[in-house]
Symmetry: C2
Subunit: 197 residues, 2 copies
Amino acid sequence: MENKRLEDQIKFIVEIDRLKRIFRQNVVIGTIEQENDAEHSWHMAVMAILLSEYASEEINILRVLKMILIHDLVEIHAGDTFCYDEKGNVDKFVREQKSANQLFSLLPSDQAEEIMDLWHEFEAMETPESKFAASLDRLQPLLLNYNTNGHTWKKPGVTSEKVLKRNSVLENPVPQLWDLAKEIIEDSINKGYLKKE
Amino acid sequence: MENKRLEDQIKFIVEIDRLKRIFRQNVVIGTIEQENDAEHSWHMAVMAILLSEYASEEINILRVLKMILIHDLVEIHAGDTFCYDEKGNVDKFVREQKSANQLFSLLPSDQAEEIMDLWHEFEAMETPESKFAASLDRLQPLLLNYNTNGHTWKKPGVTSEKVLKRNSVLENPVPQLWDLAKEIIEDSINKGYLKKE
């Protein structure tokens, strides 16, 4: 290939195919297959399109979608860290930053910078867009767990208090979705999907 | 839930989880696992972000992303039709339209209409956005096949002529990517991934 820029872009595109092999804690509804990060990112992106009307602040939906589509790429080298694994979360950011440097540097520098900036914005949760994206990053697995009899919530160390705290990210960015999340958590306790604590 | 609109949106979001179980002909690189439509849609969406500079006409990238993210939802009821299966492709649109009616009607009517319009636009391949999206719908599996020793191309009835014809969709919307596709096909013939015909 004569075009070095396109060559680099294609190398990156082929490399990120690996996101389809990074498995998460929850399972796909109606199966015993663990969901992977590519599926999760796609699902969140469709949710963003359909639920943007619930954002309490004005959001740029294009930036939200870009952020969502790339937010888990760093797990290609760093792996998925279970959100209720306190030990794993101690060095999570360091591992992921290293992974980001390695992965994004495959791209032409302008695009590497854009993707890195989007990822940092997502992680910092300071802008309306990243708060909205982070909310969907909580709500998506909540919906999956609710529809798989609380699959992930059966793992050691998970309690309703922790699930509620993790989902409280939704409170200000998407108040109506926060009410929904609380309803789901309450109902999950009643149904025995989630241990009350 | 008191909010009927949100309830419908959530039902739809849970229903489309099934896209993760609609399997395609190609495999994920480095595995023997068939790729599914959710993974494929995610991969195409990231490609759209990175390769938009090659579009020969101005495109609205937000509309491209929306179109890509929903373009295969109709396969939830209609199933994946192998692009080189001439018989299966005869009634493909009818089956998919029926599936679209059934699936999209779960949504509030304004959103059902938006998604239906996007899907029709994608299928018609008449706008710059849908031509660009359709091009990526060809290029993504081409890249996967090239990186899995021509996995899908070993199936009965597949020849280099058919693969070239299918990818010729790229010619006008993304000329540089069309050159790349031709290079990949040529190299695949040389490497024995694809039968010359």
